[in-house]
């Protein structure tokens, strides 16, 4: 009997295949796909965001056809096609959806206790985190790209009939479209970091809303430069700066960061978020 026993134990061990990162990615994909609520949030938000942009520009057509009477002393009215086709409301919808999805995928593991099952099956925590980051980052990047390009091209196609539409090669269009897409995965990564830090559903979502939407309101104004600088480096301010159309009548603060500064800020938020997630998840007992 002992001979048989040995043989079976040996064989179980000898078939242990070399670990592959793609296995972890596939496993995370199964997990994400099997929780309908999570990806529905993203799919629904994308449709809503596109809908908001298309509807806004469509209703603007009437105003373009009947422009307001010029006010003496002010330059004549000029329609800002970039600002209206890539609206900040739709951007906020995508930001909160992606941020929540990121947070849910991390705190969901902790609040359910699934994290212990996950790490007992895959002790390589770094691999699990990398797979989650890549999958959530990838899916939200895809959603962001779809929303951004569909919004830009469909809206400007409508506006072309009024000769105010922009092409992608015109002005800062390309930069704006990329930034409008890129902020979506960045918000997802920030959500993951908050989910990993707080491991609590309500706390994660509330702090996400604070960071993305409430904090910028507290650092507005042009009175103190240092306050303004903090505000300008918050996540959602980067996309506001990068979608700003210098050819429009809108003005921005004299202390507004440069385009490069805003790109770097967005990148730093992404990198820091991933680092925070990796460090706290690897270090802590579960």
């Amino acid at each position: 009997m002992s001979t048989m026993t040995l043989t079976r134990t040996e064989s179980a061990r000898s078939v242990d295949p070399a670990p592959r990162f793609t296995d972890l990615l596939a496993a995370e994909w199964i997990k994400l796909r099997s929780l309908r609520s999570t990806y529905w949030v993203l799919a629904l938000a994308s449709l809503v965001a596109i809908g908001i942009n298309l509807n806004a520009v469509h209703s603007d057509l009437t105003y373009i056809d009947h422009p307001p009477r010029p006010i003496p002393g002010l330059p004549p009215y000029r329609y800002d096609a970039l600002y209206h086709s890539l609206s900040s409301i739709a951007c906020y919808v995508m930001a909160i959806a992606a941020g929540s999805l990121g947070a849910i995928t991390v705190f969901g593991e902790y609040t359910s206790g699934m994290i212990r099952t996950t790490f007992a099956a895959v002790p390589d925590r770094r691999g699990v985190i990398a797979a989650k980051v890549l999958l959530i980052g990838g899916i939200t990047a895809l959603a962001g790209a779809v929303v951004s390009t569909v919004s830009f091209f469909a809206c400007n196609a409508m506006l072309a009939s009024r000769h105010v539409g922009l092409s992608i090669a015109q002005g800062v269009s390309l930069q704006a479209v990329i930034a409008y897409a890129a902020i979506v995965p960045v918000c997802a990564l920030i959500g993951m970091a908050l989910g990993a830090l707080l491991r609590h559903a309500t706390a994660s979502i509330v702090s996400l809303v604070m960071l993305l939407f409430i904090l910028p309101l507290m650092f507005g104004g042009d009175r103190y430069r240092w306050l303004h600088e903090i505000g300008a480096h918050l996540p959602m301010e980067t996309v506001n700066r990068l979608t700003y159309n210098p050819d429009s009548l809108t003005t921005i603060s004299k202390w507004a960061p440069s385009v490069l500064d805003s790109w770097i800020t967005m990148g730093v938020w992404a990198v820091v978020s991933v680092a925070v997630t990796a460090i706290v998840v690897r270090r802590r007992d579960v």
């Binding site: 199964i30 007992a120 002790p123 390589d124």
Partner: protein, 303 residues
Amino acid sequence: MIEIERLTKRYGATTAVDQLTFTVRPGTVTGFLGPNGAGKSTTLRMILGLNTPTEGSVTVDGVPFAGRPRGLRHVGALLDAGDVHGGRSAKAHLSALARSNRIPLGRVDEVLAEVGLGKAAGRRIGGYSLGMKQRLGIAGALLGDPPVLLFDEPLNGLDPEGVLWVRGLFRRLADEGRTVFVSSHMMAEMEHTADRLVVIGRGRLIADESLAEFSARNARSSVAVRAPELSLLVDALRAEGAEVDLMEPQFAIVTGMAAERIGELAHRHKVVLHELASRTSSLESAFMSLTADSIEYPAGEAR
């Protein structure tokens, strides 16, 4: 084989696990006993690398488990039946686990059938009873066909048929040469399940021996004697070396002497007996008296 050496886990001022040293060997079912809060779950989590020990070390088949890239083919574990996401189906849950360890997905249906969840495989885990979740956890532990298996309180919530099935399963796994380590806070559960016992209280090792040794050492037999003129008998019993515990003027518990001999002595001293009954104290009470000093959360304390 699981080797634990001077394993210690402290949370601030509290010591959950204190200098534990023991070995869990293959081919046997080893019961891991202790009252609530004794440190069983913390120890199991340290075996799996989920918690980092403050001091000491633990290895599974000679290697710290946390250092392995994938775990299911080395250790199968059911820590808490609730450690699953309620929104998924059993099939999706196990498929994700299997995929992460490159275990063929056909194995998922196999283990689901083995634990009797074949028909419920497509349903949300959130709607499962505790017994069904225990079965799902066991299915997860079996997924990688591992040589070492850990189960934390696996019998909770199982119906009598389920308990029998689990006992049979543990026996079979051990007979196949695997290491089976099962925690419980009920001696009665382990009495019919385990070959060896590791008993802890307040994070410290109390006993580490075979079930037979444990019962020989701890289960003392006694004889209950009730007689109207008991006092006439007591001296005679004591003279022959028996230990007499007078519970009432007419009732005593006698240890160290068989019921037959007590009957003979009563006859010789013409004492009328109303009751003469042999009793074997259960392992449960032996376990309780062993761990009585180390109960973390005793009930009925005045506040």
